[in-house]
């Protein structure tokens, strides 16, 4: 009889209810520990995400979400008819494209160069210096660039003492693309090496020795061993960057918008900020933000699917 009762209890515990209760009795402290994070994310991440419904409203802060009038896709119609919005989108994509060509390869190049330095101490020292600006704020980076390249900066100052005319890279709209890219390189190219250095350290050194024995010189070894070894990381990062094409960094642009003018420096994020918050056109700004969010999400998902197709492990795995 005991065996029958036992087996029945076993069967019941493996079926829903009691099992959950048992697991809850065992695991509730763990759930309690996770709860502050879940509550915070719920309140400050997921709940405001729902607030994007005001993109479909003629939102007034006094009436609130419940009291404001629903206008369907009216804000989006206005958005797509607005040349300034298209200009912001174009600026964003131009900056992404430019940085893909002139920023993306630099960390790979630096990592290869650094990896060929034999002395561990020199390598660690250079790594230490090169990673540092990643931890600086954008305000600081822009301040430093201004002091070096701005109208009253060091370069202008020494040009002036040598009899050259006024010079200010920080307010010149024609060179803005170059300026923001060099700021991004200064801040993050060193840090970008980290992934490539890690990938380089996983390449089997015996491959190099074998290739050298077969008569492959330095460059052929790089072409046939090093670059194929880096390929998965390069492909993954490239795809991720494309998936993130609509984000070029917000603080960097808002800090320099006044100096060079919105024509070249307005990107999607700053457009949302100015139109939505500073002008006070909340529904319209939210529509622009939602457009960016939804297109960005689609791009990330497509990019990730693409990464899987290429046989690489994406940002999130399928399991």
């Amino acid at each position: 009889m005991t065996t029958v009762a036992e087996s029945r209890r076993l069967r019941r515990s493996s079926r829903g209810g009691a099992n959950w209760r048992q697991r809850f009795r065992k695991d509730w402290p763990l759930l309690l520990m996770v709860s502050p994070v879940i509550v915070l994310l719920g309140v400050f991440h997921y709940f405001p995400t729902l607030g994007n419904v005001i993109a479909f409203q003629d939102y007034s802060p006094y009436a609130g979400i419940r009291g404001s009038e629903w206008i369907g896709f009216g804000n989006f119609a206005r958005l797509f008819a607005e040349p300034e919005f298209w200009s912001a989108l174009l600026n964003t994509l131009t900056i992404t494209g430019f940085q893909l060509v002139f920023f993306f390869p630099i960390p790979i190049f630096l990592a290869l160069l650094l990896n060929s330095v034999l002395s561990v101490r020199v390598r660690t020292m250079i790594q230490g210096v090169a990673y540092l600006p990643h931890f600086f704020s954008w305000v600081l980076v822009v301040s430093l660039f201004q002091q070096m390249l701005g109208g009253s900066g060091l370069l202008a100052q020494s040009l002036r003492t040598h009899g050259h005319g006024a010079f200010d890279l920080m307010t010149n709209p024609d060179t803005f693309l170059l300026l923001v890219t060099s700021q991004a390189v200064w801040k993050d190219a060193g840090w970008g090496m980290i992934v490539f250095l890690a990938a380089l350290s996983t390449i089997n050194p015996a491959l190099y020795e074998a290739a050298a024995a077969d008569g492959a010189n330095r460059w052929r070894r790089m072409w046939h061993i090093t670059l194929p070894g880096l390929r998965p990381v390069i492909v993954l990062l490239l795809i991720l960057r494309l998936g993130d094409a609509l984000s070029v960094g917000f603080e960097q642009f808002i800090l320099q918008r006044a100096a060079v003018g919105s024509e070249v420096s307005e990107v999607l994020d700053t457009y949302v900020y100015y139109q939505g918050l500073l002008v006070g056109d909340f529904g319209y700004g939210a529509a622009a933000g939602l457009f960016k969010g939804v297109v960005g999400l689609v791009l990330i998902l497509v990019a990730n699917r693409f990464a899987h197709m290429m046989g690489e492990q994406g940002v999130y795995s399928k399991s």
Partner: protein
């Protein structure tokens, strides 16, 4: 007598091992002279590009009016160094206030973020625990989209948090990345250790504080420093949520007086009141550069500690996934 005999060979061996590691393998051809030269030049330029602007800013912040005038602006060659800019800035006024705000937000925010991150990372690190998959999914999903600027602003304002220091902490208190770094470290702790503690009757909280935490000092330090740096550097939250410029953190002060080059208010530098100091007033440029130095100094001080843990693979492991 025995101990030197033991240590000297081992030190020699260590040095020999180090040079062996530094040596070119026998099969590799030595690089050409121009190749080696250009490598040195490029890497030298990288180091210079980072250090030179910092050097100029520090030297200028320490310069006297005379030195600034002679240089015609920023000072490259240090002469007659003085601390008067710092004394002026730190003897009350806008910058002192902003420094207090930034330090307070950084300390309180980092403690808060670290505690809830450790708790959640442990709560999600036990394999097979109830609901851990969906909860982890809730955390990971935040990587894919953000709520957007305007809804966040409306939420914070509807809570009445505009112009409160809480608005600088709560909305960005959790970094999913930091949480995942810590969780993957906790998952690497052998399950037997935790199970045996459980058999001995320890509660989950006891296991976390007495077994997991002592084993995880490095990762807790790194994640704590990451949080601290991000609180210290935070600029956008303050721009968005603070209208009252008496509550500004240092980054906003930096933006106003350096990036936007607004005139420093009369009391900004404070007034050198201590009679014993006998310092001449610092030039405006030195004061501005001193603000930059004050904004960067904590990061520079924290950096060696962050860097020490790069080698332990905490971050690289997480970056690789």
């Amino acid at each position: 007598m025995t101990s030197p005999n033991l240590t000297i060979p081992s030190r020699l061996a260590r040095r020999r091992a180090a040079t062996a590691e530094n040596q070119r393998p026998a099969w590799e051809e030595p690089p050409s002279v121009p190749g080696r030269l250009s490598k040195g030049v490029i890497l030298g330029l990288v180091v210079l590009a980072v250090t030179f602007p910092l050097y100029v800013v520090v030297v200028t912040s320490l310069s006297s009016t005379e030195a600034v005038t002679r240089a015609g602006g920023l000072v490259v060659v240090p002469r007659e160094l003085t601390l008067s800019a710092y004394v002026q800035l730190l003897s009350g006024g806008v910058v002192t206030k902003a420094l207090m705000v930034s330090m307070g937000v950084t300390v309180i925010g980092t403690l808060f973020s670290l505690v809830i991150t450790v708790l959640a990372a442990y709560g999600l690190s036990r394999p097979g625990s109830l609901l851990h998959r969906p909860l982890l999914f809730v955390v990971l999903l935040t990587f894919l989209f953000g709520p957007g600027i305007i809804p966040s602003y409306l939420l914070v304002s509807s809570f009445g948090l505009i112009d409160s220091y809480a608005s600088l902490i709560l909305p960005t208190a959790i970094s999913a990345f930091n949480l995942i770094v810590m969780r993957s470290f906790f998952m690497g702790i052998p399950g037997e250790l935790i199970d045996s503690a459980r058999v001995d009757g320890a509660s989950e909280f006891g296991i976390l504080t007495r077994i997991v935490m002592p084993l995880s000092k490095a990762v807790v330090a790194v994640v704590g420093l990451f949080y601290a740096v991000s609180y210290w550097n935070a600029f956008f939250n303050a721009l968005l949520y603070l209208n009252d410029n008496n509550k500004w953190p240092l980054q906003l002060v930096l933006r106003t007086y350096i990036v936007q080059a607004q005139q420093l208010p009369a009391g900004a530098g404070g007034i050198v009141t201590s009679p014993g100091m006998n310092l001449a007033p610092a030039p405006t440029l030195a004061i501005k550069m001193a603000i930059v130095v004050i904004a960067v100094l904590p990061v520079l001080l924290a950096y060696p500690f962050i860097q020490r843990h790069f080698t332990k693979g905490v971050i690289i492991g997480a970056v690789k996934g």
